[in-house]
Symmetry: C2
Subunit: 206 residues, 2 copies
DNA sequence: AAATAACGCTACCGTTTGGTAACTTATAAA
DNA sequence: TTTATAAGTTACCAAACGGTAGCGTTATTT
């Protein structure tokens, strides 16, 4: 095996482990939230010791920031992979479904956390802000297109629609429906989409 | 002044202080969330020392539980004070407005927190669960009435409607609209109500 | 085979935080 | 005036957590 090959192999395992760490972080973040996670939790989950974590990430904040960045990247990738034939409304419906299924599968919402502390250090990460802004601009365009098509409420400002859309991806109703409502994932997704786009009020008869 | 009078006066100040403590707790809960509050924070906010807090509440969990109970009681009181002439839909609209204005004024949502830890100890408090269940049953009845009147989507199960309704009272979109959207409280309330009942999709022309 | 670099881990540190012991002060009764 | 009680505070403890120093082990180079 060549010298370069060896190096690449090392880099590869390093990257793989980094990904495993981010997976564990994501899972724990979804389950317990930032404040209740300890670095020992993450280390145990991925099968390493705490000091080894710090070889990859220089702080807890840094670790969580990277996990959030990866998540936004996944959302961006999902959006870009959508075929051009989809209508703006379909794009949003599918993105919501994707986000909900990630959550139902143990992932976390890509909405910047409700925690003031988390939001503070996320907004200080240029890399995170750049991606979040890119996602926001893309979706803003989709919303504008959808309104022009008559697919979204033109009487609502774009930001109201967008923030509401984001909030549906991390809506606590999902947890409650799963815990107390005994619905399966498909039913939860369907209901959340229904509520998101048509609300809980009376709908026009089709 | 009589002996009894003195005693009553003492009880009175005791109760007043207890209320002040709960006020401070509520305010801090809304601002920072359970995990980031320290008992010293609460003590400072209300102008006492930490050990004095423990004369009133035997633990942090107990303190927060009492604060949540008081909040549910306020919601119950608000519901019961609504005139009989109101339609079920109006009841829900007004309750949502009340909850949103409490939040915008620095209060907190009455939805059992998203935090697993908080939910765990809340559900272990019989007094809390009793009240929460009472509120839930009352609202369930309101939802049923509203559906019968054709004011809410009859194709949605009651629990989907209820959990979605609860979630709107603690919707992070509110924070984002205030932070980045530059809306005043009235506009935020109006938009949140609009989204809650009619969703973000196209509405029927009136 | 010797030297060295990389890696991972145990054991630890400083700080924070929930909770308490015990001292001080003020009040009220006798 | 003296004694007993209640309230409030300072000062502290133990546990948990983020983060690190430094050692042992493996693998790589010469």
């Amino acid at each position: 095996m060549s010298f370069l090959g060896k190096l690449r192999f090392k880099d590869q395992t390093f990257k793989l482990r980094e990904n495993a760490i981010l997976d564990a972080t994501t899972k724990l973040l979804a389950a317990k939230g930032f404040d209740l996670i300890t670095m020992d939790d993450v280390a145990d989950e991925v099968g390493l010791s705490k000091p080894s974590l710090y070889k990859h990430f220089k702080s807890k904040e840094d670790l969580v920031t990277e996990a959030m960045i990866r998540l936004v990247d996944e959302a961006l990738a999902y959006l870009e992979q959508q075929p051009d034939t989809m209508s703006p409304l379909e794009r949003l419906r599918c993105l919501l479904e994707w986000a909900l299924r990630v959550r139902l599968g143990g992932g976390m919402p890509f909405l910047p956390s409700t925690s003031a502390h988390v939001r503070a250090f996320l907004t200080q990460s240029l890399r995170y802000v750049t991606r979040a802004l890119k996602l926001h601009r893309l979706l803003d365009q989709v919303v504008s297109d959808a309104k022009r098509n008559g697919e979204l409420a033109s009487e609502l400002p774009n930001d109201v629609i967008l923030y509401s859309f984001y909030s549906r991806t991390c809506d606590p109703a999902v947890e409650y429906l799963r815990l107390y409502g005994k619905y399966d994932d498909d039913a939860i997704v369907a209901h959340m989409q229904s509520v998101c786009f048509a609300g809980i009020g009376t709908r026009p008869r089709s």
